[in-house]
Amino acid sequence: MTIDATMVGREYAAAGSYQVGREKIREFADAIGDGNPAYRGDDAIAPPTFAFVIGSRALEQLLNDAELGLRLDRIVHGAQKFAYTRPIKAGDEIAATATITTVRKAGPVEVIMYETTLTTVAGEPIATATSTLSHNRADA
């Protein structure tokens, strides 16, 4: 029930693939208040940060790893970066895999970096997301 540097390299694949729907893209674009026409219609692409929505399904597996003992309500998102090979499009079927890349501890706070790759189920690369999370194990 703790996390340390020996966990670097652990991989977590999202359960099943994510089928990108144009209505989901529109819903997300509406939620962020972005009226860009590129995010609407039959040929819709997803807003850039939608990659995180798909990647978070792999993060869910990481959070469910009982050996790490992480709790969502103790996590603060510290940093996020994306490198895009191409935009996510309506109709894509996407697989997400998260890999722990760095673990740093400062008292009760654990800083965890992980990298998530998004590819189509056929293996075409789409994006890589790099995330930094701070997990606080101490009660406030």
């Binding site: 997300f28 939620a31 972005d34 850039p48 998102h77 996020q80 970066k81 406030a140």
Partner: protein, 133 residues
């Protein structure tokens, strides 16, 4: 011709509690710090805060509103330096995003984005890289 120093049109976004609820639903991020004052305060936060990913999504609109095709975004990263606290009222919290082209090389433009709420910067090292045609 895009050159270093070019300033993009700024954008002010207001985040209200209802916007956070809508973002939670659309993104699937139901972390209670984004909807429960009780849970946010238990974690030492001053109150409910905007999802970092929601702030990040809003910031890049300055860039994607400017380029013809959002598909030309090749890289985008931020640090979440300061939480944006959203009071439970109709006014919400406003953040102003501005951006400037830092350099243009090999068909790529690097754009630095600034996000300010009140007097404080809420994002650090916010940078987008776009293909220029």
């Amino acid at each position: 011709m895009i050159e270093a120093g070019f300033e993009l049109s700024p954008l002010t976004v207001t985040f209200r509690r209802e916007d956070l609820v809508r973002y939670a639903g659309a993104s699937g991020d139901f972390n209670p710090i984004h909807w429960s004052d009780r849970m946010a305060e238990a974690l030492g936060l001053p109150g409910v805060i905007v999802h970092g990913m929601f702030t990040m999504a809003s910031a890049v609109r300055v860039v994607t509103d400017w380029i013809d095709d959002p598909a030309d975004l090749v890289e985008y990263g931020v640090r979440f330096t300061k939480p944006v606290v959203v009071p439970d009222d109709d006014k919400g919290a406003s953040v102003t995003f501005s951006a400037k082209v830092e350099k243009v090389t090999d068909g790529l433009a690097e754009i630095d984005i600034t996000a300010v709420a009140g007097e404080e910067k809420v994002l650090g090292r916010a940078r987008a890289v776009v293909r220029v045609r």
